[in-house]
Amino acid sequence: MTDQITTDPTKPAQRMRAGSMTITIGPWIVAAIALMAMPYIFTSNSALTIMNQMWITVVFALAYNMLLGQGGMLSFGHAVYAGVGGFACMHIMNMSDLFAAMPLPVLPIFGGLFGMGLAMIVGAFSTRSAGTVFAMISLGVGELIAACSVIIVAFFGGEEGISGDRTYAMPFFGNEFLQQIDVYYLTSFWVLVSAVLMYLWSRTPVGRMANAVRDNPERAEFLGYSARWVRFYSFVASGFFAGVAGGLFAINYEILTEENLNTASSGVILLVTFLGGVGFFFGPIIGAIAFTLLQTVLSLQTELWAFYAGTLFVATVMFFPGGLAGLLMMHVPAFKLGKANLLVVPYIKTLIPAAIGVFGLCALVEMVFHFRHAATGDDEMTVFWMTFDSHTIMPWIIAVVVTAVGFGIMRMTAPAMKEAWNAANTAGGKS
């Protein structure tokens, strides 16, 4: 620490008021406009479907991060809170009298309340400690409730699940939500409201103490707060917003099955959240968008999308524990020092060859997969818009060479990038 960033120490009070007394609303307005504008940019129905899925995942991932990032609780069974909220909403949809008197946009609140109710019951005993004990209980409870789906058929509908029809709701200003676009705006409204509320939550006393308990539960206890109750409140709030996500899922897909409860879904949301970055509030939003794109767009291109998603996750855990958000925020100091421009050329020199290497590697993976699994006689395959015969030697040589050259150049230019990085993050004269 040679260069301290010091602001004018003579005016701390003014600095404080300018800094932390205002709640910034700029990003939220941008988000609201973006949400409204998206359907005009991506007009197709499939794009709307993808975006709906994205926003639902955003709500769920943000709710999950209230536990993982803010509260330091690793849950392996958080899908059940979203799932139970969703199932509850399906049942409300099927109560025709009640549902006919309820405008559809209100429905997610009930999903939230049921998710919250379940979280209150489970949280009463699971939040006693964080760490392994909490993780194990969450896993056990998750499995238990997922198993209930075939036992308590009346609620979970067994293997077929529960389906309903959202259009039976009371028309909302004449809108019956027949079109995908109507559902899109409903989902967008809820994603914005939920995100704002969750953000504000993190700025309340109990939200701040969630961070304190995450960092050091014992110290928090010696400040007058019961770590257990702080965790409980976080858990219940997280259950509520997970339930809202479940309610949105119910509205969007009009069917819920065991799949919404099981460990695989819980695992996905952990992956999404971690990929986006648990250290920043907006991390899970990025994670949800990136993962949904992988899941929907990439899965159209290759059967191996889950393999790539898994590789990306492992790479994130190993090399960028801060996730995508952490990767972005890493660059803030360089921008503050006005030296971010130093990074542009080294980045191009290193990251483009790296990307080419990765593409080459992907091509090899695809070719191996095709070689091993394609039907006999089906020798032709297409990778990166190039069609060739996977049983001849030439494509293999090309792919290997591209991979080797890409990574080779990356290795050569990496030290220069590192140097540029250090230079860009050091205050003062040119180094």
Binding site: W201, P205, R208, N216, A220, L223, G224, S226
Partner: protein, 253 residues
């Protein structure tokens, strides 16, 4: 005589067969600065942990302002006006310095588990935290992650967190451990300043600090208090000299 701030009666603690605290009776008056000294392994930190309910005593009672603390949790004891620091720095490393202090203020300012207040909106919280930071000279480090502070600064922050809640009984566990001379002087002055009018109980190895700060001293040896009294009396006590001070003073000179 008014009720003592802290009263220990027949306090004992065993871990398995090992008796660490072997019956302690001690009464510490209001606004008294009391130091607990003793050789390594005498049970000083254990005694601290018993008082603050980090451990449950095997026998005996702790009374804070006349109220029995048996069976209470640390957070409940803290709410009754007892606050402590730790021998090993115990802060919230990932949070900013300011945030550390603000968290320490939340309960005492009555926010409890509120989720309908925004902390940044409370001028009282912000100004309170700023005032504490000013007291511990960390105002300039306000927005740094606490884990990035220097060791002495972290110790100062630890003291800041400890006093922030306005507790009237402050317990400091080796506040100057591992510090250089100048840092020790700085922390000693700081302790004097921030514990003005409060009851202070501290464990300390540095005799300079002890004799500079304490109104009374208790000497703990093998889980028993062998002497309690004014610094000069304790210094003159032959038992103390034999058990502890002699060796320590010899080492110092």
């Amino acid at each position: 005589m008014s009720t003592p701030a802290l009263e220990l009666t027949g306090l004992k603690k065993s871990f398995g067969k090992a008796e660490i605290i072997r019956g302690i009776d001690l009464s510490i008056g209001k606004a008294e600065r009391h130091a607990i000294i003793g050789p390594n392994g005498a049970g000083k930190s254990t005694l601290f942990n018993l008082i603050t309910a980090r451990f449950a005593p095997t026998e005996g009672h702790v009374k804070l302002h006349g109220q029995d603390l048996t069976g209470l949790q640390p957070f409940q004891i803290n709410r009754m006006g007892l606050s402590r620091s730790f021998q090993i720095t115990n802060i919230f490393p990932k949070m900013s310095v300011f945030e550390n202090v603000r968290c320490a203020l939340l309960w005492s300012q009555g926010y409890k588990y509120s989720f309908w207040n925004l902390v940044a909106r409370s001028r009282r919280l912000t100004e309170g935290a700023e005032a504490i930071l000013d007291q511990i000279n960390l105002l300039e480090r306000r927005d740094m992650p606490a884990g990035m502070l220097s060791y002495a600064e972290q110790r100062a922050l630890e003291i800041g967190i400890t006093i922030a809640g306005g507790a009237d009984v402050i317990m400091l566990d080796e506040p100057t451990a591992g510090m250089s001379h100048s840092e020790t002087d700085y922390i000693t002055d700081l302790i004097l300043k921030v514990t003005e009018g409060k009851t202070l109980i501290m464990v300390e190895h540095d005799m300079g600090v002890v004799f500079g700060l304490a109104d009374r001293i208790s000497v703990l040896v093998y889980g028993e208090i062998i002497a309690t009294g004014k610094p000069e009396d304790v210094r003159g006590d032959p038992k103390v000299q034999e058990a502890y001070l002699g060796a320590a003073l010899e080492a110092e000179h």
